[in-house]
């Protein structure tokens, strides 16, 4: 970034062809003159208005000053943004809506998003409950999905409300679902939505509420199937289907762009009382470190909750690792690439466990991160707990509270030759005293520099944000 380019003699060397005179650009915005350099304006990208201003047509007379009929104060904010890469503090005088609208005029919205809602600004230790996004009507959110720069789609009842990255604009569409149970963002305005009581996965355009495509899976008896879970990686969309009569299930892999089926893995037809195969995957996570698909599902029976976690090699269609969960089965499970571990909440104990993915295939990989005194008294402490990983942290909800688990880097631990050193995880309760408690948490999602939380019977979404990054 050359903030002084061309303005002082020292820059003569850096600009070989241009003289310092022509390197300085003067713009008249709404009657106020601004001076900057070509290099600064070029940072806005070739399609922006700034780039066009910096290239005066050859035919023009040399002393003409380009005139932009816009508000000069807003322009000065964007000039500062170009110069420093950050929004100046005087930008807080303006409403973010004004800045967004003006940034679209100048063609620098991406820069604005980058400086305000960048995923790299996510500070797990610095999050606090900062805002409540309320939804109209009487339905509480059933599913929530985010995009990397912090726009969020909330399914409540038969409706999906999308908020833009600034959370100031919203749009609501009506779907055919009675309630959406699983959702995945394919692009900022397209989501895949499915429900456990509705046949088929719908690709919905959130701009106009239309169904772009319906993906469905049929078993041998040609019965309709419901959607149990959706997952994705860079090029594929994974959908866990269960047939309407609940006697077969499958995971179908679609091409994320063409939405054509690629392959089908984990097809189970249930005959007899083999309970394990009757469990459809209710959560699909892509483990990019190992290029595996983690599919997990559980089933509550008279003898307690049992489930399984399977790691699939999607290309070959083989199970690489299967974990049967019979004792203290997971209530929710997630995987963290940064920590190369998977985490679960035990349904009976309510404790957080971790398993190192570096020793794949171990017999009982789970290490309890709680106090370890697990009393199997039939209580179900962990029912309804959610666990999600984001960055290098793991977030676990217990009733109305959120625990933040992070790994402590222990420099003193000796690196034994064949055994991995013992890993240390510690937890913190998130939020101030006044934010703790409340209704049971039903969803956790992360996008941009924010965390989104929904709670039972609340027609709203909580936004947790670090105090410094907020606008």
């Amino acid at each position: 970034m050359p903030p002084f380019g061309g303005s002082v003699p020292s820059s003569y060397g850096s600009n070989s062809s241009n003289s310092s005179d022509s390197n300085i650009i003067t713009i008249d915005v709404g009657g106020q003159l601004f001076q900057t350099t070509k290099q600064t304006l070029a940072l806005a990208g070739p399609d922006s208005l700034f780039a066009r201003v910096s290239e005066p047509p050859i035919s023009s007379s040399h002393h003409s000053v380009p005139f932009v009929d816009r508000d000069p104060e807003l322009f000065s904010v964007f000039l500062s943004l170009l110069r420093t890469g950050n929004l100046p503090s005087k930008a807080r005088v303006f409403d973010i809506q004004d800045l967004i609208f003006e940034s679209r005029f100048y063609g620098v919205e991406d820069l604005l998003i980058n400086s305000v809602s960048n995923p790299s600004q996510f500070e797990a230790y610095n999050l606090e409950r900062s805002a409540i996004l309320s939804m109209n009507g009487r339905d509480s959110p059933s599913a929530i999905v985010t995009t990397p720069f912090g726009s969020v789609h909330v399914a409540h009842g038969s409706k999906i409300t999308s908020f833009d990255w600034s959370l100031r604009k919203k749009r609501t569409i009506l779907t055919q679902f009675a309630a959406v149970d699983s959702m995945l963002a394919i692009s900022p305005s397209v989501v895949a939505a499915g429900a456990t009581d509705f046949s088929g996965l719908q690709i919905l355009d959130l701009e106009n509420g239309s169904v772009k495509k319906t993906l469905s899976w049929e078993n041998v008896t040609r019965s309709s199937s419901t959607v149990q879970a959706i997952g994705s990686n860079q090029e594929s969309l994974f959908v866990s289907f269960e047939s309407g009569r609940r006697n077969s299930n499958s995971i179908v892999v679609y091409d994320l762009h063409s939405l054509r089926p690629v392959t089908e893995i984990a097809h189970n037809e249930i005959y007899g009382a083999e309970i394990n195969s009757a469990i459809p995957a209710t959560k699909l996570n892509w483990v990019s470190g190992n290029s595996l698909l983690m599919a997990s599902g559980s089933h509550s029976g008279p003898s307690g909750v049992s489930g399984n976690i399977k790691f699939w090699d999607v290309r070959s269609g083989n199970i690489v690792w299967e974990l049967k969960e019979n004792v203290d089965c997971f209530s929710d499970v997630t995987v963290s690439d940064n920590l190369s571990s998977m985490f679960k909440v035990g349904v009976n104990s309510g404790e957080v466990f971790f398993a190192d993915l570096r020793n794949l295939g171990a017999e009982n990989p789970w290490v309890c991160l709680g106090d370890g005194r697990i009393a199997y008294n039939g209580k179900k402490e962990g029912v309804g707990c959610k666990i999600e990983s984001h960055g290098s942290q793991v977030f676990c909800s217990k009733a109305g509270d959120i625990e933040l688990w992070s790994e402590v880097a222990m420099g003193s631990v000796k690196n034994s030759e064949d055994e991995l050193g013992e890993r240390v995880f510690r937890k913190n309760l998130m939020g101030k005293m006044k934010d703790m408690g409340g209704s049971r948490i039903t969803n956790l999602a992360f996008g941009g520099n924010k965390m989104f939380v929904t709670r039972k019977d609340q027609q709203s979404v909580e936004v947790w944000q670090s105090s410094s990054g907020g606008f």
């Binding site: 008249d28 709404g30 009657g31 399609d47 208005l49 066009r52 005066p56 047509p57 035919s59 023009s60 007379s61 003409s64 380009p66 005139f67 932009v68 009929d69 816009r70 508000d71 409403d95 809506q97 004004d98 609208f101 003006e102 005029f105 063609g107 606090e128 409950r129 900062s130 805002a131 409540i132 996004l133 309320s134 109209n136 009507g137 009487r138 339905d139 009842g157 038969s158 409706k159 409300t161 908020f163 959370l167 100031r168 604009k169 919203k170 749009r171 609501t172 009506l174 779907t175 055919q176 009675a178 309630a179 009581d197 509420g209 239309s210 169904v211 019977d457 027609q459 936004v463 105090s467």
Partner: protein, 580 residues
């Protein structure tokens, strides 16, 4: 030589003429720069920006003046408001700095500069979408706040409110523009005949009266008279509708003789009479609702009464040219349809969609009939498949709570279950029962509400999500309903059906995509409409909804025993509440 450049939003526009050399700086070319001195502050803009306010605006007129290079035009107004309006002209939206000024200030200043239409388009709410609407304001007239009638006319979101013999007018900005005191003590029906002319009727005084808003006076009255029939006297007006050249008013006499008069809009004289009924039975009572259907040129009228044996009434379609009834439907009918025993408690017609909608008094179902295809039993019933709307049990620890369950002893299962405090769809939310009993002979459950002391009744053969029917004895004004069943009102607007059941407001909206394939599949419209609540639980506790009417992109809701009317709008802006 003055060279200027104007950037438009589509950037390609810039490259098409990258720099325009102004051939003659003295004349105002559209890209020429303009200097304005507003209240001492200098602004620089282009002629085309100023022109965008419209050809008749003050700014356009000023920009057409030949100016010297150095001189700026001086306008002796507040510069801060001008900067807001200049932003509006430049970007077509109001900047956030506009919040520093009141709506009135902005509107006045926009009027001064002649750019009111631009302000109007920038501040108008987006199109009304019932699944995503929230209450934005409550209009409360300063005196006699109880609203007896209102009409939203002109389709720009303005509303006229009748309260205590006065009519107050609120413009598109919901700003109070004037109040007219009429000679009537209570106005119970109002219709906007012209943009400044209101037609008024009253339950307590005879005649239809026309009031002119600009002149603030009565400009005419119409009475139903028939020298040959002594029973026709002191005829009052129960409903008014208008077409482009006629006003239709339903008159009724003290002894229930009734008729609809067609009044010529230009002369304000009676043109003709549409039918005359004795009013002897529910089938020929005066209509309580009249709606003009411009597409077919028919007049829709409906009447609903509630007697000891439940709801009864009719729906009729008249052709005013011939004066004949084109189609007629009486309820309770002959029982051909599945809901034969469940007559409607509210009805409305949607002129845009050519459909009639009704709310069944017993089941609470929504029925729909296609105007283009009316037969013996045109009703199609819309069903909601969302189970979460059926059972939402939140058992509170405060006050009375409990449940009623019906077990099937053969299977040992719970067939039907009712918890209290329940889902709160009825006006009795927060009023759980204090005593309950079941009458096996009558197949009914009775309950006594712990707070109000009301008696609730539910039919065992017809148990739904809200089976309770409250029996009231106190209300003597059983004009339309009030004896049995929840009070419901229904209003069709912008292809959506808004239903007020007691205090709660719900909307039935079309699912666009399901339509085609589903209609092909089974020929009925089940699943075509989806029901959602517009309001929140706390909204429904403000009182029973008496009237719903849409106007512009607003929905106006009037509640019994509460002052003023509520304004509901959709918004593109989210409601973010900071909790830091």
């Amino acid at each position: 030589m003055k060279v200027s450049l104007k950037f438009h939003l589509p950037l390609s526009h810039l490259s098409s003429h990258p720099l325009m050399e102004d051939p003659n700086p003295q004349t105002a070319s559209t890209n020429a720069r303009m200097k304005l001195n507003v209240g001492g502050k200098l602004f620089e803009t282009t002629v085309s920006t100023l022109h965008s306010g419209g050809p008749d605006s003050l700014l356009s007129a000023l920009s057409n003046r030949p100016t010297g290079d150095a001189n700026s035009i001086f306008i002796d107004r507040d510069p801060e408001i001008f900067s807001v309006l200049l932003s509006l002209l430049r970007s077509n939206r109001l900047p956030s700095t506009a919040r520093r000024f009141s709506k009135q200030e902005l509107a006045d200043e926009a009027l001064y500069y002649g750019i009111e239409s631009r302000l109007k388009s920038a501040v108008s709410p987006p199109s009304l979408c019932g699944i995503d609407a929230s209450i934005v304001a409550t209009i409360r007239p300063t005196s006699d706040g109880f609203v007896s009638a209102f009409t939203s006319g002109d389709g720009d979101g303005s509303v006229w409110i009748a309260h205590g013999g006065q009519i107050s007018s609120y413009d598109w900005n919901l700003l109070h523009t004037g109040t007219v005191r009429t000679h009537l003590e209570e106005i119970t029906s109002i219709c906007r005949v012209y943009s400044e002319l209101a037609a008024l009727g009253s339950d307590s005084a005879a005649g239809l009266h026309f009031y002119d808003f600009s002149g603030n006076r009565n400009v005419g009255s119409v009475h139903w008279r028939d020298p040959s029939d002594p029973r026709i006297f002191k005829a009052r007006v129960s409903a008014i509708a208008d077409s482009t050249d006629s006003v239709f008013a339903a008159f009724y006499c003290p002894h229930k003789e009734n008729s609809i008069l067609v009044i010529d809009k230009s002369t304000l004289q009676v043109q003709s009479e549409l039918g005359r009924y004795t009013g002897g039975s529910a089938k020929n009572l005066v209509p309580g609702k009249l709606t003009w259907l411009p597409e077919t040129g028919l007049l829709f009228g409906s009447s609903i009464t509630c007697g000891a044996f439940g709801f009864s009434g009719y729906i009729r379609l008249w052709d005013p040219r011939s004066g004949k009834v084109v189609w007629e439907m009486n309820e309770p009918g002959s029982g051909r349809s599945g809901r034969g025993g469940g007559p409607f408690s509210a009805v409305d017609v949607d002129a845009e969609e050519s459909s009639i909608f009704k709310v069944c008094s017993k089941s609470g179902d929504l029925g729909m009939a296609d105007l283009r295809n009316l037969g013996d039993d045109p009703w199609v019933y819309l069903q909601e498949s969302n189970p979460s709307l059926r059972v939402t049990v939140t058992c509170g620890a405060f006050g009375f709570s409990g449940y009623i369950r019906l077990w099937d002893p053969r299977s040992g299962k719970v067939v039907w279950e009712m918890n209290e405090p329940g889902s709160g769809r009825s006006g009795r939310f927060g009023d759980p029962f204090s005593a309950v009993d079941v009458d096996a002979e009558e197949s009914s459950i009775f309950k006594v509400c712990s707070k109000s002391g009301d008696l609730g009744m539910a039919d065992l053969r017809n148990l739904g999500d809200d089976p309770w029917v409250y029996l009231q004895e106190s209300n003597p004004s059983l004009r339309v309903t009030g004896g049995v069943g929840g009070y419901s009102v229904i209003h069709c607007y912008k292809k959506q059906v808004f239903v007020g059941r007691d205090g709660s407001l719900e909307v039935w909206s079309r699912v666009e995509n399901g339509k085609v394939e589903r209609e092909k599949e089974n020929g009925v419209c089940e699943g075509l409409y989806r029901r959602n609540f517009v309001d929140r639980l706390e909204d429904s506790e403000r009182g029973i909804i008496e009237k719903i009417e849409g106007g512009g992109d607003r929905l106006f809701v009037c509640r019994r025993e509460s002052e003023g009317i509520e304004v509901w709008e959709s918004s593109n802006s989210s409601t973010v509440v900071s909790v830091l």
